[in-house]
Assembly symmetry: C7
Homo-oligomer: 75 residues x 7
């Protein structure tokens, strides 16, 4: 079995870095990853922006995003 990079490894490397989070319903969040719950994939972001259909609709100091609605996370 070759070594692999698990979800938790990549989330760990992304702590304190800017990530992109795509949710169901064409919602997108960008912000700095402060923490995450494993394995739920709930995320804590700071300095976040919410975009809908490509437009920034809200700026949010700090936000908890429920993992349930996440499609993908990109560091």
């Amino acid at each position: 079995m070759p070594p692999q990079k698990k979800t938790a490894d990549l989330l760990n490397e992304s702590l304190n870095k800017r990530i992109l989070v795509e949710l169901k319903g064409n919602r997108e969040y960008r912000g700095i990853l402060e923490g995450y719950d494993h394995p739920h994939m709930n995320l804590v972001l700071r300095n976040a922006e919410e975009a809908k259909d490509g437009e920034i609709v809200r700026k949010i100091d700090r936000v908890i995003i429920r993992g349930d609605n996440i499609i993908y996370i990109s560091p």
Copy 2:
């Protein structure tokens, strides 16, 4: 592994403070966080307001919000 801020840490810091809760179906609640269930993310708010599509539709003294429908929580 750098220190991180977990969901429960941020919810803890938000106790007795005003938070914004966005639910599926364009519903939004604002109110003072009195408690939460971990890891379900069920919330107890007081002095809450429900908004739909940006308009306040109801004022609610106290409310239990099921975590299932939550998209994000912003302290």
Copy 3:
């Protein structure tokens, strides 16, 4: 960690009192809370009324509401 009011605390205080239950699909129930299952949030109400889009559509002596469909509960 400050003291908090958990979902179960608030449900407990609401026993034998009138509550409002909002379900998915614009359904609303009002009735006297006789009991609940934790953590499923299934509820037993008596002297209940079902409203749809704001109109009372049914009166129900006693009803078990599955927690799955609940958006919020307001004591």
Copy 4:
């Protein structure tokens, strides 16, 4: 903590009595409760009728209803 009537208590009292079961998708079943699975809320009914949008669409001698789709049960 005052005594309460749990879901299972009310289902127990309803054994061998006629109940009404409302499912998602405007389906309704009426029949005599023969048994239930706890906590799934799967039900066994006999002498059942299925109604859709208020009209009886089928008579069923015996039926197992999956708890997943249930909105409420009324004894």
Copy 5:
């Protein structure tokens, strides 16, 4: 607590008998019950027919139906 007929009892009695299975999306299956998984309610049927909106659309020698999509089962 009066004796009751649980879901598994009724499925057991129905082994090797013809049953009707109603799924979400107006699909219906009829066939002889060869086995089931408890508590998932996955079913194995033989000599089965699939109907959609009341018309037979396929005959299937043997079929595994996932319990997830089942609304009701009628022996």
Copy 6:
């Protein structure tokens, strides 16, 4: 309790044989069953074809199908 054929028995008998898998959203896969995860019903197929609304839309050498989306499996 009469002997029964469980889901896992039928999947086992179907190893290295051609099966039909119907998914939600009118998708259908045909291919040779190489393995399955129990009880998730995730499947590994080889020499597979994907059909949508009755037309073959893709040929796939090997494919993992998530059990979640499966409606039925027919050996």
Copy 7:
């Protein structure tokens, strides 16, 4: 019981190889598999491309895809 190829076997063989991932909502990802979580099927891809309705809509260096939304994975 004949030997079989489980989901985890096939994912293991696919490490560091290009895979195709089909998600609900007509989304498709192609990229090199760096790791996966078992049994959630969350995936880590690098050099990934997102396609929607057959068109490449985004290039992503690294991405975590939640297993929940996956329909199939093809190595």
